[in-house]
Symmetry: C2
Subunit: 298 residues, 2 copies
């Protein structure tokens, strides 16, 4: 994985990820050690050690800068985009306020039942004022899906450059975090795909490219002798990784109340994917993955 | 797995399953041999051979009789149920016609957008007549979820009795077939869970019991030395099996058009689950699973 120079000095650890997301509590991780005490958790193809974990924060190439974690959920990050999201400390523009409120309502209430009138009420404006900014609900959905793309595509694009399990683990967490922030896209997929043709095209294109990038990542990990799996098995693993990342939150809705909190946790999807990979990894990587897995509450 | 006497005479094979479902074409299997020619595919803990495969049709305990496959999709099977479905050759009662049409419309069009008026049009009756049979859409949904339970619960209940991979494969296929027949339950899960409290309780209860039964099945397979996995890994495998069976169809909606047909095929979910299990199986079972997997188009 092509990390910036400072990123090459530390292995991804739960501690290191804490500095990336700024929200480690959401990932169901138990109290984490500042240093790795597990035997066999030596950095592979890197010279540094875990003691840098809490200070170094590598990011996959193309990812937004670290300050992105301070931005409102779902906000776009690149200045290049016309739909650029709000910057930290700068009051939200009306358009951004509408999108923020819509995202929260869609995530919590469901895409099918949240109306533009409900959104207008949430942002304390008249339906006519809302109409001035977005002609209909479809425009809002399209804008939110574009924001999702802006966050998720760079992560997906970086997957083929992953060469070790720690980079894989980091990318997985970043991807699952973005999917969680825009979870209505996948939880209400059937409705979104049927009702919003523009969003349908974008979401399917993203899923296809994520699947292809994950396949390529698995092939490259196999070429590096990190993953030991035949091509057919690698394709199935790639499919299962994308499937688990995309649909994990939806499945949480189907579980008895007691299990919902655990399944809806983004960490659950990461844990499941690590478990999927474990038997295919070389001994060193497997040991490291088992250490990471032990940090999740099941 | 406690099979009826005649069921103990043959190993589950793609051919044998053909006689169970009566719809092997839907499972993306290539032209199947009448006998297994793969080396190492010897029956385990059984005395018979594959030559009986096309004539013997074992069923898990508690499953409806074989004639159930002739019944309309989604029809209930047990005489004990007040909601018993129509019998083969007997004209459908109005209530059954309504449920049949509703199931088809929900599966194809989506639960959120199909109204009772649309259903009434489909069965060529007035809304008032429909109201006589079902007071509202929620009653229809509840009845369909009960029919799903009647089909799926016996299969889930039989999972802890599974002792070999061929029984596992058979049960998986039966379960996925039922989920496919009632796919609106899982594809529109978010809407169903939110809008229909009665169905929510039933679906969550079913998912919870299926998860528990699958965990027990994995533990029993480990006790028989078929599955070689630590308890933590077994729980993750069980979770992934139920998740894949339940949400596979939903994920197909997210794929680019070219991949949708493959992912929506019930065989795809079975293939994925077999792949998940492969590295954890003992050598004999793994060989057999690889043979089964080779029968699916990927």
């Amino acid at each position: 994985m092509r990390l910036p120079p400072e990123g090459r000095t530390a292995r991804a650890s739960p501690d290191r990820y804490r500095t990336v997301s700024g929200s480690s509590n959401r990932f169901s991780m138990t109290a984490l050690p500042q240093r790795c005490s597990a035997s066999g958790c030596r950095p592979r193809r890197r010279s540094a050690n875990w003691s840098n974990a809490s200070t170094v924060c590598p990011r996959p190439p193309g990812l937004p800068d670290a300050s992105a974690s301070d931005r409102p959920v779902g906000a776009a990050e690149t200045a290049a985009s016309r739909k650029a999201g709000p910057r930290p400390g700068v009051p939200l523009k009306t358009r951004d306020r509408i999108l923020e409120a819509s995202l929260q309502l869609f995530n919590e209430g469901g895409l099918a039942v949240v109306s533009t009138n409900r959104i207008a009420t949430e942002v304390a404006m008249s339906p006519g004022n809302l109409y001035y900014h977005f002609k209909n609900k479809e425009r809002i959905v399209d804008s939110l899906v574009r924001r999702f793309e802006l966050r998720a595509e760079p992560i997906a694009a970086s997957l083929p450059t992953v060469r070790s399990v720690d980079d894989l683990w980091l990318s997985l967490h970043l991807m699952i975090e973005v999917i969680h922030a825009f979870r209505f896209v996948f939880r209400d997929a059937d409705f979104l795909i049927r009702e919003y043709p523009g969003a349908r095209v974008r979401v399917r294109k993203f899923t296809g490219s994520a699947l292809e990038a994950t396949r390529l990542m698995c092939a490259n990990l196999a070429a590096c002798n990190v993953l030991e799996a035949a091509p057919e098995a690698r394709d199935a693993i790639a499919f299962q990784i994308v499937f688990t990342a995309a649909c994990g939150f939806m499945f949480s809705k189907l579980l008895p109340s007691g299990d919902i909190a655990a399944a809806a946790d983004p960490g659950r999807a990461a844990y499941q994917i690590l478990t999927l990979l474990t038997p295919y990894l070389d001994a060193d990587s497997r040991h490291y993955i088992l250490y990471l897995r032990s940090k999740y509450r099941t």
